[in-house]
Amino acid sequence: MIRCPKCNTLNRDSSRFCSECGAPLYRTRIRCPQCGTLNPVGNIFCDQCHTRLVPAEETPATPAAKLTEETGPRVQGISLPTRPAPAGESGETGAQQPMPDWLMGFLGPETPEPGETSGAVPDGLAERAEETAAPPEEPVTPTELPDWLTSLAEESAPAAVPSRPELEPAAELPDWLTGLAEESAPAAVPSRPEPEPAAELPDWLTGLAEESAPAAAAPAPEPEPAVELPDWLAGLVEEAASPSPAAPPIAAEEGIPDWLSGIMEEVPAAEPILEPEPQEPEASLEPAALPDWLAGVLEPEETPAQRPGAPAISAAPAPDWLSAWEEDIEEEHPIGGREDLSAEDTWPEQQAPASESARMGAGEMAAEVPDWLRALGPRSGAVAVEALPEGLEQAELPMWLEQLRPPGTAPLDSSRAPEAPPGEEAPVEGLTRAEIPDWLQPYRPTATSPATGTSALEMAVSAPESEGPLSGLAGLLPALPGVDAPAHFAPTMAVPLPQTVVQEAQLWQQLLEGGAGAQGRPKPRARVTWPAVVVRVMVALVLVLASLLRFSETPLAQPPEQPNVSALYATIEALQPGAEVWIAFDYTLADVDEMDFIVEALLEHLLSREARIVAVSTLPEGPGLIADRFAWALGRPDVSPDSLVSRGFVAGGTAGVAQILTSATADAGPHLLVVLTSRPEKLKAWVEQTAVINGARLAEGKPALPLVAGVSAAAAPQLRPYLNASAQAGWLSGFSGVAAYLQARGLPPREDISRRLDALLVTQWLAASLLAAGALFYLLAGKQKTG
């Protein structure tokens, strides 16, 4: 039922408007079309049968999805968004997807890609980017972005993207990043425009390219002067630098960091940097020349044959700045279980696109990701992920992330990464300690968190970063362990509940299970006080005594004249000997005492007229009453057992009455019908059915069946009209009627009847007195407060 907010009327559940005042009703429940269960309005699926209640198109898009559709994904800080394209749109990936805002900022003010919005970068970063970034000869438009960057944009998922502060676009990309963009330019998407020629590379990078790719088919980009890296990036370079035997000390000579030099060595000499790579979905990587920090990410032993459809990557821990991508992924897409593992939570080439085209696109994207970047991606772990779509791989988590793995998940191979003793940062080979910029200093924590024994969130919140450019920062949410969790991953509650909350919940549960019923229900305070008890006892005592005591030898009561009694007498008196008389015993056990007198008076008269009695009842207790009265009758002299016949109980109420009369009047029929009852509806049924039968009998020329009645004094007032109209052959009621009947027969009054009449008279007078006294008392005492 729905309550109207206007007039408080209860309305049917399906009502849309109030039936009383017409006000619109707000549906508080939705009825399931399948099983009819009433569900709350907010439900999308039925709680009972899980049928969809709300059509799919009505399902409101999540805020993140709306955000993506309207404004594109937002990014925060320097994290890279990893949202893939929406499923339906991912057939043509790449350039059609909105670029991350932070990246758009680096690319400059020209951002022709649709759906893009500018992000916001911290002021310091923006300023430094502006200061240090050399304007490229030609601004790199979004359409000219290398594949690796574009693919990162394609990973942005439209769903569940929380709003992020906008990043102000940097004036231009720093050269090092621009160079990276120009280096890795595989033609992953056919719609992607041609990449910029190599002339766009900065000088320092160009030089590297020339050295490492002497047979470059494309014209090498004009080397640009070495770019002075910003402090924060310089710090990153120092930290991330890992000694690579294969990496020439270019950084020492020309200012290029080792890690970058390692990248340069990976670039195939025969390929221009900015030319799209051939479409090889199963291209494998050559991890041999990778720096250590990159080598750890890859799995040299993995080949395309082992993981069909997915490129092999070496085992190496992901760099911090790339790990931050994972953090962002987890922040936006909390993993809830195996089925929640969505494409946006994995690396680009490991995503499971919703559609086949997207799946193919992802494979293509994976093929076009540069090798060195692909090497940075998470590798498939030792534990196979069940039900992962083709192309998805398990990423190898860094040690600090592995410590956050929830219990029950397969342990990661921790041998690949050095364990950092608690409280100390793990030394990373080849990396020099970064200089934390001033603006980042306040975020640096003072201690690291323990590795085990705490929940993932606690560790995340309490443990500061120990590696990478974000070292010392606390409160960063790590990638949830469930990102690469095995199939039997069982997520635990991210936020531990306080004990008080748990106890309270348990108490509620007990209350609900125990029911709100008998145990807790307080018994209403009894409103009976001792005066009320006294009055009650006194009233009962007075009535009982008045009934029992004899106040006079001569009868006190004088029954009034009753013409109906005289008529009854006359009717019975007119019966011929041997006449068949049907008697209906339709009174209840509660009226036995009163009705016994009536029955005895009538039976005595009928038997004195030598009538043949046939007894029947429409009440279940009727046969017992019949047997009892017949037993009394048989105790009288000159009563033959043949003159007393019992037809027992006939079910059906009114229908049973009709059945009795139909069978009784089948032949000649009875000469008289006597109805003995204390229930008005019984007599009504007999009167009505007798009228029907009489109509038929009269139509056949037979005499009508006369009906007489003996009713209790309680039922008489209600039956008077029926009796006066139908029972014209006479009737009697109560003790007074019996007394009058005996008087009409000329019999002396029976003492037992006289005593009862006297008792009745006295109690009636006393009751009237008590009634008047009580009325007067409460009239003067005041009205009761009703509640």
């Binding site: 009819g36 009055v535 009650r536 009535l543 009561a557 004088q558 008077r720 009745l760 409460y778």
Partner: protein, 210 residues
């Protein structure tokens, strides 16, 4: 859908057949009506068995759980089982049945009904505590007149005040009380008619979820 349609169809068809059999005494309608009513009686008797079993279950549960009313439940269960067995063995007109009827049931029922006289009197005395209006005054006045005038005192002359009271009581009983009761009965009859029609036409389905 089948669960909704079938009971409704059975109810409507049975009701129509019984109704037509009552109004139109043309064969075979009255016979069909008699058969359907017999079937209804069977169902009613089975309902009696169900109710009896439920009564036993409630009291057995109370016995098992303990607490207040345990002894009452014990007597109820014992008497229900014993009487059932004995009457089943001898029949309702047998000696045991008759003894129980006259010795236990009838006095108990009479006593309970007698109690209603006390409770009615007490509630009448409290009438002005609950409501104070002209209706209550009229109600009490009529009750007093009826109590006094229904059985006149033989020692008091019939004429005069007593005669007046008796006459008024008689008039009250024959005219306003009867008229009110008849009006009440007519209204109730209309309500019964319409309720029955609603069930007959399937507008309300007490046998299903509507």
């Amino acid at each position: 859908m089948f669960k909704r349609i079938l009971p409704t169809a059975v109810a409507i068809s049975a009701g129509l057949l019984v109704l037509l059999g009552a109004f139109i005494p043309v064969d075979p309608l009255p016979q069909i009506r008699a058969v359907l009513i017999d079937w209804a009686m069977f169902v009613g008797a089975f309902a009696f068995i169900l109710a009896y079993l439920q009564l036993l279950r409630v009291h057995l549960t109370r016995l098992r759980r303990g607490g207040k009313g345990k002894s009452t439940s014990l007597w109820v269960v014992l008497s229900a089982l014993v009487v059932f067995v004995l009457v089943l063995w001898q029949g309702p007109a047998g000696a045991v049945g008759q003894t129980l009827l006259r010795g236990l049931l009838a006095p108990g029922q009479s006593a309970l009904l007698a109690l209603t006289a006390v409770t009615l009197l007490l509630s009448g005395m409290r009438l002005f505590k609950v409501r104070r209006n002209l209706g209550s005054v009229l109600f009490l006045a009529v009750v007093l007149v009826m109590l006094i005038g229904s059985i006149p005192l033989a020692i008091v002359p019939y004429q005069g005040a007593m005669g007046t009271v008796v006459g008024v009581a008689d008039w009250l009983q024959r005219v306003p009380a009867l008229a009110g009761m008849r009006g009440l009965a007519l209204g109730v009859a209309l309500g019964i008619l319409l309720t029955g029609l609603r069930v007959l036409f399937g507008m309300t389905r007490p046998h299903s979820d509507d």
